[in-house]
């Protein structure tokens, strides 16, 4: 079975631009979560979507938004990019929406560089 897939692998943008990152969860998984991992740090939670509804939001500005589609794939959008948005963006999928014992499977991430 295919794991979590993310596209693109790498992306270079300039300040002020917007970006859309895509994620396809493992087949049968209905929950998708997004994390930002700055170099040398642990991943930071951005959003969780389950059954196309937002179920959790981390401490990120409104420039960050996401959505989930009927096939459970998801997009993360970031507007007005800042240099500090440069990071590895990870998508994780799980069967259910609640934490604790419901293993999250991470994709390989999208490396975003903002110049």
């Amino acid at each position: 079975d295919a794991g979590v897939t993310q596209s693109p692998t790498h992306l270079i943008k300039t300040r002020g631009q917007h970006v859309t990152l895509r994620c396809s969860p493992i087949s049968g998984h209905k929950s998708v979560s997004w994390y930002q991992q700055v170099l040398g740090q642990g991943p930071q939670f951005i959003f969780q979507y389950y059954e196309k509804e937002e179920r959790g939001r981390g401490n990120f500005p409104d420039r960050f938004s996401a959505r989930q589609f009927p096939n459970y794939s998801s997009e993360l959008n970031v507007n007005a990019l800042l240099l500090g948005d440069s990071a590895l963006y990870l998508c994780a999928s799980s069967r259910r929406h609640s934490g604790g014992g419901d293993e999250q499977f991470f994709g390989p991430g999208t490396r975003l560089t903002v110049l």
Partner: protein
């Protein structure tokens, strides 16, 4: 606000040694504590996880020790191998809430021959 503190930042051990990575948490509502392994260019992968009702859990060469009163938990890797060289993250979450993992800052482990 860092709710999960992890140490050391980096660790070098010889093959066969037992590296120990420590984490401490602040939020007493956390009730599920997984450890993740991340290789360069890859996403984190779940290694082992524990709940606060047990003090120790073993899976293969990986052991978690948990001290609820001290709000601390640690990962031990027995008979470490060069293939274990990776970055390890502890994490914590609350059962029944959104699948929000709070991660530590990571420990870069190098196992030498």
């Amino acid at each position: 606000q860092q709710q999960v503190k992890q140490s050391p930042q980096s660790l070098i051990v010889q093959k066969g040694g037992i590296p120990i990575i420590n984490c401490a948490y602040e939020n007493t509502a956390f009730d599920y504590f997984p450890w993740y392994q991340q290789f360069p260019g890859k996403g984190p992968a779940l290694l082992i996880a524990i709940r606060p009702d047990v003090s120790e859990k073993k899976e293969g060469r990986f052991t978690i020790s948990f001290n609820k009163s001290a709000k601390q938990f640690s990962l031990h890797i027995m008979d470490s191998q060069p293939g274990d060289s990776a970055t390890y993250f502890c994490a914590a979450t609350i059962t029944g809430t959104a699948s929000k993992l709070t991660f530590g800052t990571g420990t870069r482990l190098q196992v030498t021959l």
